[in-house]
């Protein structure tokens, strides 16, 4: 957690030092130059890595533009930006348990993590296209309506800083997260959610995960 608000030492040296103020005579030119810098994602970048560049490295596991090809890896495109920022930061600090994400997120500064969160939030959500078992989905819907809809509104389509989108997400991923929460207490983001998840049995978790994936 100590690293959370500290820029990695290496980056400080790589960021361009602040430019001195120009003489008054070139004020207009400087203004134009500034406009150019602000309008272009590349201009003025120097050694700062663009969101494109950073986010493309994730695609090998989370799919092109964050639309996962399955099944244990979640789609992260179109997720709420604050949610992504929290999750990615929690991986970096170790607050959120992981097998590999912690090792990876420790390689980025807080600014870079924010840039990646914003980049993925701006991509379109892509639901999975797997066949649905209507009976299982219906059982899941009953559980959802009685216990989950208040936070995961609109059949899991709703999302905010603490509730990720679930509709159209890969069921194996949802199942893994729910079981990790229920069995180990890990990845239970809110107390309210954790209490409800811990009351679920395996069949209910399967049905719930299937229901969410079926919602596009």
């Amino acid at each position: 957690m100590h690293a959370l608000h500290n820029r990695r030492p290496g980056l400080a040296a790589r960021i361009d030092p602040p430019k001195p103020h120009p003489p008054a005579g070139v004020g207009l030119l400087a203004l134009l130059a500034l406009a150019l810098v602000l309008s272009s994602p590349v201009a003025g970048a120097g050694d700062v890595r663009s969101a494109d560049m950073l986010a493309h490295t994730c695609a090998g596991c989370h799919g092109t533009d964050g639309a996962s090809a399955g099944a244990a890896m979640p789609t992260i495109a179109g997720m709420n930006k604050s949610y992504l920022l929290t999750v990615l930061t929690d991986y970096k600090t170790g607050l959120r348990q992981s097998t590999i994400m912690g090792r990876i997120m420790r390689g980025y500064t807080d600014q870079e993590i924010a840039a990646m969160a914003g980049w993925f939030a701006a991509r379109p959500w892509v639901s999975t296209e797997r066949p649905v078992d209507g009976q299982v989905a219906h059982r899941g819907e009953q559980i959802h309506l009685s216990r989950c809809e208040t936070c995961h509104a609109d059949g899991g389509r709703g999302q905010d800083a603490t509730s990720p989108r679930l509709a159209g997400q890969w069921a194996p991923y949802i199942r893994h997260v729910l079981k990790a929460c229920r069995d180990t207490g890990l990845r239970c983001k809110t107390r309210q959610g954790a209490e409800r998840v811990m009351a679920l049995d395996d069949a209910e978790i399967d049905a719930l995960a299937h229901y969410y994936e079926s919602q596009k």
């Binding site: 990695r8 590349v42 120097g46 494109d52 560049m53 090809a69 890896m73």
Partner: protein
């Protein structure tokens, strides 16, 4: 690839020919323009970069039939397919041609599971229709020569593909000379290396099936550097997984040219946990270095002692693909030195080399590394064509190994450019914990499969 795909590639061939027939003078002047742009940009201010970009676009508009620039990518694997796709994503006005000798791609990652019988080779096989849909012109041809001066590559049948920028992702070639008795013919018939997935993968599988219980398999592991550093050791585990259920008295001997290997502690603990003493690793210093093989008797001559095996899987010494060697792009050790930010060859202008053939600092020769390099290179090439400076790069590697049905391990790396070198970001990356619990080990198998699904979707859709 189906006949209908062949039919669709024909007109593209025609287009390329007609493009090459454009006036030489126009070509040369445009190439010179691009070259000048790139040269200026190394010291250019950002304002000038923007202006050159605009000028380049204006030049492209003046000749509407001509693409903004022609980029040829040779090799459609983990690096090349990605470079082609991400170049098209970065700038759809660039004409991107991917030239690959085979109509299909068979993935090396996960091919150890074919050897153990855990999966079918079809599940590792992909075609290039997804790239065609993204606007990449995919040509089936074997490139046999590069002319860096005239800016073209030549196919086996004599076809000439002109380029403004060339990206080579040719992979590795095998050096059989250090081990007497080995040759390509021996590898294809008797002692498969199976280090490029395909016929030899299936041959090795059949040899394991035919081996009697109580037999010995010798895996001869090469010296560094080589493609897929954890590969030989994952292979041993996958073979053991098959033997455990079918030939429990079998032995697997790893005869290593090295004294240490990737994820070593994790592999050795996993081997012991699942397979007891079935796998024995002989490091180079303990006699693992092999000097000769007799394919008839399957006898291996070591520096210290000889070994007799029923099945020999000899993974040869490696260097960059022959195409890169012939084009003069390699160093004395046989690998391609490149600018670590753009992957531009240090030996020839307008040629970039990515993937296993390239020297990429701290990055291993892995599929994910090639994927990451393909994206960095594509961004740099698109920037150069548009008169912009190369963007600050970001690189990642993740690599999973599957030791048993419920036992996966991984290594990750996050890299940055520092003083012109690709270095690991301190504090990031590293191995799965040695003391990971069963849940974590099982999850890493699921992630290994998910890794494969996503990285191949990134390449081929």
């Amino acid at each position: 690839m189906s006949t209908s795909d062949r039919a669709t590639t024909k007109p593209r061939n025609t287009t390329i020919s007609s493009a090459s027939a454009r006036s030489k003078a126009a070509d040369t002047s445009r190439r010179r323009f691009l070259g000048t742009g790139a040269a200026v940009l190394t010291t250019a201010t950002l304002g000038a970069g923007g202006w050159l970009g605009a000028a380049s676009r204006a030049a492209a508009q003046a000749a509407p039939s001509a693409p903004k620039a022609r980029v040829v990518v040779v090799g459609g694997g983990y690096g090349g397919a990605i470079a082609a796709k991400y170049l098209k994503l970065a700038d759809p006005d660039i004409r991107v041609t991917l030239i690959e000798r085979s109509p299909y791609y068979v993935s090396c990652p996960l091919s150890n599971e074919v050897i153990s019988g855990e999966r079918d080779i079809d599940s590792l096989t992909f075609d290039y229709r997804g790239l065609t849909r993204r606007g990449v012109a995919v040509m089936q041809d074997e490139i046999v020569a590069v002319d860096p001066e005239a800016h073209y590559v030549r196919g086996a049948g004599g076809a000439r593909y002109n380029y403004d920028k060339l990206i080579l992702a040719p992979g590795v070639s095998f050096d059989y000379d250090p081990i007497d008795g080995m040759s390509e013919a021996v590898a294809e018939s008797t002692i498969p290396h199976a280090w490029k997935a395909g016929a030899q993968t299936l041959l090795l599988r059949r040899q394991l099936q035919a081996m009697p219980d109580g037999g010995v398999v010798a895996i001869v592991a090469p010296p560094n550097p080589f493609r897929c550093p954890p590969g030989p050791y994952e292979r041993a585990a996958q073979m053991a997984l098959y033997f455990k259920h079918h030939k429990p008295k079998a032995k697997i001997l790893i005869l290593d040219a090295k004294d240490a290997f990737s994820k070593q502690a994790l592999f050795q603990a996993g081997w012991q946990e699942h397979y007891g003493d079935m796998i024995e690793w002989v490091p180079g210093a303990a006699g693992g270095i092999i000097e000769a093989v007799d394919p008839k008797t399957r006898t291996l001559t070591g520096l210290v002692e000889d070994f007799q095996a029923d099945v020999v899987n000899l993974i040869p010494h490696q260097r960059a693909a022959k195409l890169a060697v012939d084009a003069g792009l390699t160093d004395a050790a046989g690998w391609c030195p490149v600018d670590q930010q753009t992957f531009a060859s240090e030996q020839a202008p307008d040629i970039h080399v990515i993937g296993d053939a390239a020297i990429a600092g701290a990055m291993p020769k892995s599929g994910y590394a090639a994927n990451s390099q393909g994206k960095v290179c594509a961004a740099a090439v698109a920037a150069a064509i548009n008169g912009e400076p190369p963007p600050a790069p970001s690189y990642v590697n993740t690599c999973y190994s599957i030791l048993a049905h419920d036992h996966g391990i991984s290594v990750a790396g996050v890299y940055e450019l520092k003083d012109g070198n690709i270095v690991s970001v301190p504090g990031a990356g590293g191995l799965s914990p040695v003391d990971a619990d069963a849940r974590t080990r099982a999850m890493e198998v699921e992630y290994a499969i998910g890794w494969f699904r996503n990285i191949t979707a990134d390449m081929f859709t």
